[in-house]
Symmetry: C2
Subunit: 326 residues, 2 copies
């Protein structure tokens, strides 16, 4: 069935089921001019918005519709994770051509709802409209942190260590393997198609008292430059400390590329990069999935990397920029 046969209103009614996963904060969900929810004096509210366009941010060639919804939510959840927050509410908007098969929309919603259920997140509203172009999905997410505790990218201090969560370059490896139609690469293909946000680690890092944090959506190079620039410090990392998955080494060997480039410039990993005082190292090491890759020094807001042969490279802020993609 096509969207034009169902109609906007009926489709919205259809997707209203299974939208409230934590009713304690919701006064009214979907169905009025606005939804109404309750915040408290003990929390600060976090807000972020992300848009995914068919053909630019996702392709049904490499991703199932379910995965598109799943990853759209991960991108939004990752922004909350990067502040050390707890996700609470979303609203979403979809512009879709009227000839689109509603099975595709249903599957995208199923991916969105799976992530919402997992994180007890409410879908409080939406807008479904017609377009004559490719599908455009926008999610706005609201989260919260205890008052005054949001972790900004501007908080890095000279002497901090630089840490990251899990693997980086992972999603880019999976996308590369899919693009070249390679067998194998089972882990990183899933990493591209169905990445997960680091909500729990983000909260644990906030509670430990780290100084600054970003999520790695645009590549480690770009995100480190963001922290250096916002905090007015320099960052130096060690190439061999960057945690790469064995599939990344395998792909780099096959394509004769430099494996660390997947981490620096790959994007869409939705891991976290942070800086923290050295005194936290023992506590950081007790968390699973944390690797220390460098430190914060004084200097002119740039990012440098020490290679295995001890040469120093400046890492540019180039990353995943959808207006400059080739």
């Amino acid at each position: 069935m096509q969207l034009k046969d169902v109609g906007e209103f009926n489709f919205i009614r259809h997707i209203q089921n299974d939208t409230i996963h934590d009713s304690s904060t919701v006064i009214t969900g979907i169905g009025d001019d606005c939804a109404v929810y309750r915040a408290t004096d003990e929390t600060d509210q976090l807000i972020s918005t992300d848009t995914m366009v068919e053909g630019i941010h996702f392709s049904f060639r490499y991703m199932k519709p379910y995965d598109v919804g799943y990853r759209l939510m991960t991108a939004n959840l990752s922004d909350i994770a990067a502040m050390g927050g707890t996700p609470r509410q979303i609203v979403l908007s979809v512009a879709a051509p009227e000839y689109v098969d509603t099975v595709i929309l249903d599957e995208i919603y199923r991916g969105i709802k799976a992530q919402c259920a997992r994180y007890h997140l409410n879908i409080l509203g939406g807008d479904t409209v017609r377009t004559e172009g490719p599908m455009v999905w926008t999610v706005t997410i609201i989260g919260e942190v205890p008052t005054g505790t949001a972790i900004m990218r501007s908080g890095a201090q000279v002497g901090d260590i630089v840490g990251i969560t899990n693997y980086v370059g992972y999603a880019a490896t999976g996308l590369g393997a899919l693009s070249y139609n390679l067998d194998g690469y089972a882990m990183t293909k899933v990493g591209h198609q169905r990445p997960d946000p680091q909500i729990e680690l983000g909260q644990q890092l906030r509670q430990l008292g780290i100084h600054s944090m970003n999520d790695i959506s645009d590549g480690l190079g770009s995100e480190l430059n963001e922290i250096a620039s916002a905090s007015n410090v320099s960052i130096v990392i060690e190439e061999k400390a960057i945690p790469l998955h064995e599939e990344t080494y395998e792909l780099a060997k096959y394509l004769q590329t430099n494996p660390v480039d997947y981490a620096l410039y790959g994007g869409e990993d939705f891991q976290l990069v942070f800086t923290a005082p050295k005194a936290l190292i023992p506590k950081l090491e007790s968390l699973s999935g944390i690797t220390i890759i460098g430190e914060v020094i004084s200097g002119p807001c740039h990012v440098q990397m020490v290679t295995p042969d001890k040469t120093i490279k400046t890492i540019e802020a180039k990353g995943y920029n959808h207006f400059h993609e080739s």
Copy 2:
């Protein structure tokens, strides 16, 4: 200059100026993974999202880019007005083709920012992405009301009067005049191109203690049916009580159409329709721009209209549905 020459990051930097109009609630605006704002125990939070697609919801044939931004904000502000709320924050997302002239984007932003400045609304974040289709603009708005006082569409009670603000059918008249390329119709053409939300009246009506409210974005017929259905009541209105502008009568005469149809099915007026206890009539009459057009009766959730010759018509919920437009 085209968007592809400027780049997403530079364009976002460029539009960050002049985004905070009430710093008292903002901890961090644009520039981190999330913005951070503060809500209080004394308020409930309102949230709504609206999307406008080039060629569907607006056309540069009838509207200047500035007006597109202005009206996008009005549509969002109107949702807050319909709850009796005060608008506080927005995030916005734009998907645009890379060949778009940045002057057009700048002008749309100028329209958005004008409404934000007028209502002391902060722009807390955004996403600018590339599309190969028409422009898609999405605004998510956050507002607030004193705890427990949001006016729902489900609150209508038998015995209530039905009231509306200012004129209805006004924007549709202007659009009609523009479509037929008619001279004159100066007031209603502006009503289509640059409509205003009824924030102050919405707040005044909430403070008076009205029972239910909707904004009239999809035509009076559709909105009255929404109230009747959500409140499980019937509504009866009097055709000759509906306040139509003289330009609506003029256009209807010229096109040999029924003037009241512009009000019932026209849409995009961003006026308010509400129900209130009869005891409030004197106070309602002291507000400027309020007209009483009918009453709430018991019955099977439908809307009827008494014509000047005393026949009774059932008013269908048909309105402005972008998936069913001809």
